[in-house]
Amino acid sequence: MEPIRMIRSRTVVIASTNIDTDQLMPARFLTTTTREGLGQHLFADWRYDAAGQPIPSFVLNQPQAKGCQILVAGRNIGCGSSREHAPWGLYDYGFRAVVSTEIADIFRNNSLKNGLVPVVVDEATHAWLLENPGAEISIDLESRVLRLPDGREVTFPMESFARYCLLNGVDETGYLLSQIPAIEAYEQRIGA
């Protein structure tokens, strides 16, 4: 995995609360057996009409969304299904961070494993971000600080090991494999 230290970008705002992973990636796109190419299906039912044409009022179809790497979403994004296809789709589309006041557990875990940084902020910061779509902000993983355009700094929580992995491009599978001796010892101890 590529190390990530800093994400600097304009934001895209989708203010709906409880954006579930069925919205992020509808079930009919889960029949893929690879990870690639899911960006085109991201938010498919909000993004395209029945004829497959882009719905102009949806933010991802508007020119200012192009190139944005930070998605600001309403409270509790990623609830529902455990499908990792949701963060794969967000990453493939070009997003590198998701900002909200609450991020659902499984989606947050899945995001961390795919270079998509989940950033939980306080209500006031969130309210400001929702009101200012397109704001140029930065997310500094090293210091766990989100910087607003006026220079205000907001720290965000980040599990220390996940942060270490993102900063150093360490992949968790490799780390777990290095634990095999301890796993074998455990299995012997419990007679498994």
């Binding site: 409880n18 509808p26 079930a27 039912d45 509790n76 499908r83 990792e84 494993k113 634990q179 796993i183």
Partner: protein, 465 residues
């Protein structure tokens, strides 16, 4: 030793390496359930790294999400209509053959929805850690197992190492006391719990369901409750094992047998939250005040009692949900016309659900214009239901009796609700488009589903019997 919670006991027993400030715990997984949708990329990872499945004896696979429920397609008499689904099924067969993983494929008497077959086989047992690339893995917590959903990268971790990296979650006690009133089911109870907690109220937590009401539930009912823990944001829900649990498991093919059985039960009896142990948070529910529940919105927290009006105080997001659903604030759900009824899923697709539904349906007819799909949770349940003649009751009433699978719960296999149509569904999610693009899902119990099928609109099942 300090009094500890059930969760804490299971967690500690599975710590290969305890968590530190810098590193999460390495948690051992006793049972890994897999299915066709969330496993292909995990097998690709094994292949890329040249790794085997480390503990084949702790890994089971089934196909359920994208398999057809139409017998001709399922058994290959005609091709599977959805080509992508067919491909995913054959990919799973290939992966399981190559890596030596036991697979309950089409034709196996044990095939079914992953969360239905684990308990049915007796593979789901108290005190185990159980994971699956599927959020409703919480179902298995009904047996006092620590069971939770994981993503595909983590499926790869478990295949390769039989372990996961995990931070210890918080604990949340949901205490339910009192007898459920007549006509109020476990599904109504869990919908009421989710309404009270909110859809993110359980985030970061493992729920333990406690109290006299929970003790009085059958295993099927406990599974219905634990199944929907994730709809309150909790990755896992637990019920302490007791005589009901042991009676259910005894004699099941993968349960301990003979002398091992006695030893296992003795061990399982210690799996309770000690007197005096504390939870990070507790809520209390009085079961005696509950009524049948039904959802009206686009997440499982948006529910009302069947005879209650849709609340009218809501923000823009709330209004958007109502407009998607084509419903208005202040309206009663009773009398709302429906075009589909779905009885099935890992929430309510077990034998007792089918039996309860058939009991209400017997001698009655499905209303004209209603498409009533009945999908057993597993092949075994289908056989048992047929042995009891339940299939006849459904068919005679005009319902569509199908092969086992997830089916219309998520519409991946082509069983979908048409755009704008209403479906009373015994499944667990009413998200926008969950049952097909533009579908409008009303979550409810099997009894409420049958009442709607007979009336052609939302109706109160308590007035049926």
């Amino acid at each position: 030793m300090n009094p500890t919670t059930l969760f804490e006991k299971i967690w500690r027993a599975h710590e290969v390496v305890a968590q530190t400030a810098d590193t999460p715990a390495v948690l051992y997984i006793d049972l890994h359930l897999t299915h066709e949708v969330t496993s292909p990329q995990a097998y690709s990872m094994l292949r890329e790294r040249g790794l085997p499945v480390r503990r084949k004896d702790r890994t089971l696979a089934t196909m359920d999400h994208s398999t057809p429920t139409d017998a001709d397609q399922l058994f290959g008499r005609i091709p599977i209509k959805l080509e992508s689904a067919a491909q995913q099924v054959s990919q799973l067969e290939k992966n399981c053959a190559e890596f030596g993983v036991e697979l309950f494929a089409v034709g196996s008497p044990h095939r079914g929805i992953v969360h239905v077959i684990g308990p049915e086989l007796g593979a789901t047992q108290p005190g185990k850690t159980i994971v699956c690339g599927d959020s409703h893995t919480s179902t298995h917590g009904a047996f006092g197992a620590l069971a939770f959903g994981i993503g595909t990268t983590e499926v790869g971790h478990v295949l390769a190492t039989q372990c996961l990296l995990q931070r210890k979650p918080k604990t949340l006690a949901v205490n339910v006391e009192g007898a459920l009133p007549a006509g109020v089911t476990a599904k109504d109870l869990v919908l009421a719990i989710i309404r009270q907690l909110g859809v993110s109220g359980g985030t970061g937590s493992v729920i333990e369901y406690r109290g006299s009401t929970i003790r009085g539930l059958s295993m099927d009912e406990r599974m219905t409750v634990c199944n929907m823990s994730i709809e309150a944001g909790a990755r896992a829900g637990l019920v302490a094992p007791d005589e009901t649990t042991f009676a259910y498991l005894k004699g099941r093919p993968r349960a301990p047998q003979g002398a091992d059985w006695e030893a296992a039960v003795a061990r399982w009896r210690t799996l309770v939250t000690d007197e005096g142990a504390t939870f990070d948070r507790e809520i209390h529910i009085d079961a005696t005040t509950l009524r049948p529940m039904i959802t009206y919105g686009t997440h499982p927290g948006m529910s009302v009692a069947i005879d209650e009006a849709i609340p009218s105080d809501g923000d823009a997001v709330y209004q958007k949900a109502l407009s998607y659903m084509g419903l208005t604030a202040g309206q009663s759900m009773l009398g709302q016309p429906v075009q589909y009824v779905f009885l099935g899923s890992c929430t309510n697709g077990r034998l007792s659900d089918l039996a309860a539904a058939a009991h209400l349906l017997k001698g009655r007819r499905v209303a004209a214009g209603v498409n009533f799909l009945v999908v057993p949770g597993s092949d075994a349940i289908k056989r048992e239901a047929e042995a009891l003649g339940l299939d006849r009751i459904f068919k005679d009433a005009g319902a569509d009796w199908r092969e086992a699978g997830c089916s219309m719960c998520l519409g991946m296999n082509g069983d979908t609700v048409t755009k704008g149509a209403y479906c009373v569904s015994t499944s667990n999610r009413n998200f926008e488009g969950r049952q097909g693009v533009g579908s409008r899902t009303l979550l409810a119990s099997p009894a409420t589903a049958v009442a709607a099928a007979i009336a052609g609109h939302v109706a109160d099942a308590r007035q049926l019997s």
